[in-house]
């Protein structure tokens, strides 16, 4: 590296470069393994970029500087006591502080491997590399390369042709730390749904250590739905109130496929979700549902992008949030309907309840439509709890608190009720109620 080059590299990028060199040096004889190559490819791309700033349109509402300014330590090894499991049958996969800490389940017709192992197979390697070419709808998304360069234990799931996995796959990402030093993890998930396959995946982030644990979770999920495949993807984010999370989910949908995404953001101090859906062929259905609840100075930013490139596709999008204290919510929904995408139905709705004068919601729908025979709509509302509803409930003997929580739950229910699977729906409600019970107003 010459001096001139070094001057152009920001201080935070330099820290990541140094971190990578440490890893690289430690590789010794493993230097030529596919995973090392894969990470090095990510690193090469990473070091030529810089992190986005608020001057970048797609990062206008969220400054990532407080995240990347931190001096990260390695994720501490965590010996977690056995976690409370879900009360319905599921295939469990557990990561503690980014390290795989459970056996990988065996399911007939399904391959579940570490990314390191998957890369050893030529066809999986090719598929993974093809996925890496799928662009995020978020421009200047340096976090993708950061994830690729540093992902230590990624997960690869391939659901075979016409395989129907009846029990949900529950991927638990626990973070535990009692120190106030910030660590970083890079969860990575590849999901390959072959023709006619069917699965449900729960991506579940929680904090099992101190309430003040500080860590940054930088997630990349890359998903491909083959023809006629169906995937239900529920994300539960319950990080500590000092944590930061960037979650990138990039989905490609083939003909007749059906993808439903439910994002529940309850924890975290700075949270940014980038969800991109590429419709590669006709007659697809995409459901994008999000709910978030913000307290204190939580900042929760959802950016979605749906690329309607082909005709006869339908997308339904609804995000609802409740913001208290000094919390801030952002919704930026981008929908692109290309010229060929005739008969597109694209619906978008974002609503929020702003419960304190210092809480803020920014909503920015962004529809670009180049086809003429389409049905597209978007709506945004920002409101308060309805006084006459509170009066009505109080007059029936419900306390002020009960009345308000019932109304808040009802507000979110419009999103959660779209979850068809009763177990998943109940799980989502349980998490929401836990959080609402902590709310003081």
């Amino acid at each position: 590296m010459n001096n001139i080059h070094q001057e152009q590299i920001s201080e935070h990028m330099e820290r990541f470069i140094n971190m990578f060199h440490l890893y690289d040096v430690g590789l010794n004889g493993h230097r030529h393994e596919p995973i090392a190559e894969y990470r090095r490819n990510g690193f090469e791309l990473l070091k030529s970029e810089d992190f986005p700033s608020r001057r970048d349109e797609d990062w206008k509402y969220t400054s990532v500087t407080p995240i990347i300014n931190q001096k990260f330590i390695e994720a501490p090894k965590a010996n977690l006591p056995s976690q409370p499991t879900l009360d319905f049958e599921n295939h469990a996969i557990v990561f503690n502080n980014g390290h795989l800490s459970s056996q990988l389940p065996t399911i007939e017709g399904v391959e579940i491997l570490s990314v390191a192992d998957a890369l050893k197979s030529e066809s999986y390697n090719n598929w993974i590399n093809a996925q890496l070419q799928v662009q995020s709808g978020t421009l200047k998304n340096t976090f993708l390369r950061l994830n690729q360069a540093f992902s230590a234990s990624g997960l690869f799931i391939k659901v075979g042709k016409n395989i129907n996995i009846t029990k949900p796959i529950h991927i638990q990402y626990n973070s535990i730390s009692d120190s106030n030093q910030t660590f970083i993890t890079h969860p990575q998930l590849f999901v390959w749904m072959e023709v006619g396959s069917n699965a449900q995946i729960i991506e579940d982030y929680s904090n099992s250590g101190s309430e003040d644990a500080s860590y940054f979770t930088n997630v990349v999920n890359r998903i491909e739905l083959g023809k006629n495949a169906k995937l239900v993807h529920l994300k539960l984010q319950n990080e500590s109130f000092k944590a930061q999370a960037v979650n990138n989910t990039i989905v490609s949908q083939m003909r007749d496929s059906n993808y439903s995404h439910y994002a529940l953001d309850l924890g975290g101090n700075i949270v940014r979700n980038n969800l991109s859906i590429r419709l590669m062929d006709s007659n697809t259905l995409s459901n994008l549902y999000g709910a978030f609840i913000g307290f204190n100075d939580q900042h929760i930013d959802n950016q979605t992008f749906i690329d309607h490139a082909m005709p006869h596709c339908q997308s339904n999008e609804m995000y609802k949030g409740i913001l208290a204290d000094r919390s801030r919510g952002v919704f930026n929904g981008k929908v692109l309907v290309r010229q060929d995408a005739q008969k597109t139905n694209a619906f978008q709705q974002s609503s929020s309840l702003v419960l304190s004068p210092t809480a803020v919601m920014d909503t920015k729908p962004q529809l670009e439509i180049f086809a003429d025979d389409v049905k597209c709509s978007h709506g945004a509302t920002i409101g308060h709890l309805d006084e006459s509803s509170i009066f009505y409930l109080n007059s029936r003997g419900l306390s002020e608190n009960m009345a308000k929580s019932l109304l808040k739950r009802a507000f979110i229910s419009e999103v959660v009720d779209h979850i068809e699977n009763e177990d998943l729906k109940e799980l989502a409600y349980a998490k929401i109620e836990d959080k609402l019970n902590l709310m003081k107003i």
Partner: protein, 252 residues
């Protein structure tokens, strides 16, 4: 049971109730009639505790307690029930969930044991049947998309479940067909007992054939200008309010 003395109430600086006096003893039924905008709903909202009304002067005692000092929820627990003229629609809260919370928080406040989910459902079903309310209404969002009559019957269901001491019915009969009217009246009559009182606000004498009042009051421009027995309602329906309006001046 209820003693209203010289009650003066305004909303947004405008005086609506201009000195109301009304005494309701246990077991009595009082009907209040009066032209649109005379302040009937204002009076019932003040009794239930709606905040946007300013109490300029006067007092209300309920069972010897100062009602105006009590929160809305406390009033409900103490036994005040208002059947709203326009029940609020609350999407996303199912009728059943709402009824369960209402029943159990009221029971708890009254020192009664909370009912189990099974018991509470049994109770709700039993009362719903009495009011000819289809069970599918229990699963629906509270009042959302209910017809006018369905909303009113749902109000009566809540009243039957919450076992109040004073039921205030604000135009529960308006817009009901004759069958619904009979069902609603039967519900009230079944609840009649020597310890329970009702204030029935209505525009129509018809209701008072079913729910026979002990007293009929005429409210006009924020004042009770005439009080009589059930025959007053008949006369009002035949002759309108003009003659009592004239009487108002005479009373002053």
């Amino acid at each position: 049971m209820l003693e209203i003395r010289d009650l003066v109430v305004s909303v947004e600086g405008k005086e609506i109730l201009k000195g109301i006096n009304l005494t309701v003893r246990p077991g009595e039924i009082h009907a209040i009639m009066g032209p649109n905008g005379s302040g009937k709903s204002t009076l019932s909202s003040v009794l239930a505790g709606k905040e946007e009304y300013e109490i300029n002067s006067g007092s209300i005692l309920f069972e010897g307690e100062d009602l105006l000092e009590m929160e809305v929820t406390e009033r409900a627990h103490a036994g005040i029930f208002l059947a709203f003229q326009y029940p609020v629609e609350i999407p996303g809260v199912t009728n059943a969930t709402f009824l369960k919370s209402a029943i159990n928080s009221t029971r708890k406040a009254r020192g009664l044991e909370e009912l189990s989910p099974v018991e509470v459902l049994k109770l709700i079903r039993e009362k719903a049947k009495m009011l000819e309310i289809d069970e599918k209404f229990l699963k629906r969002s509270l009042n959302e998309g209910f017809s006018g009559g369905e909303k009113k019957r749902n109000e009566m269901l809540q009243m039957a479940l919450l076992d109040p001491k004073l039921g205030i019915l604000d135009e529960t009969d308006s817009g009901l067909d004759i069958d619904a009217l009979r069902i609603v009246s039967d519900a009230v009559n079944q609840l009649r007992d020597p310890q329970r009182s009702f204030i029935v606000i209505t525009h129509y004498q018809r209701l008072l054939n079913y729910i026979v009042p002990d007293f009929v009051h005429v409210l006009h421009e924020g004042r009770i200008v005439k009080t009589g027995d059930k025959s007053l309602a008949l006369k009002l329906e035949d002759e309108g309010y003009d003659w009592v309006k004239g009487g108002a001046e005479a009373l002053i």
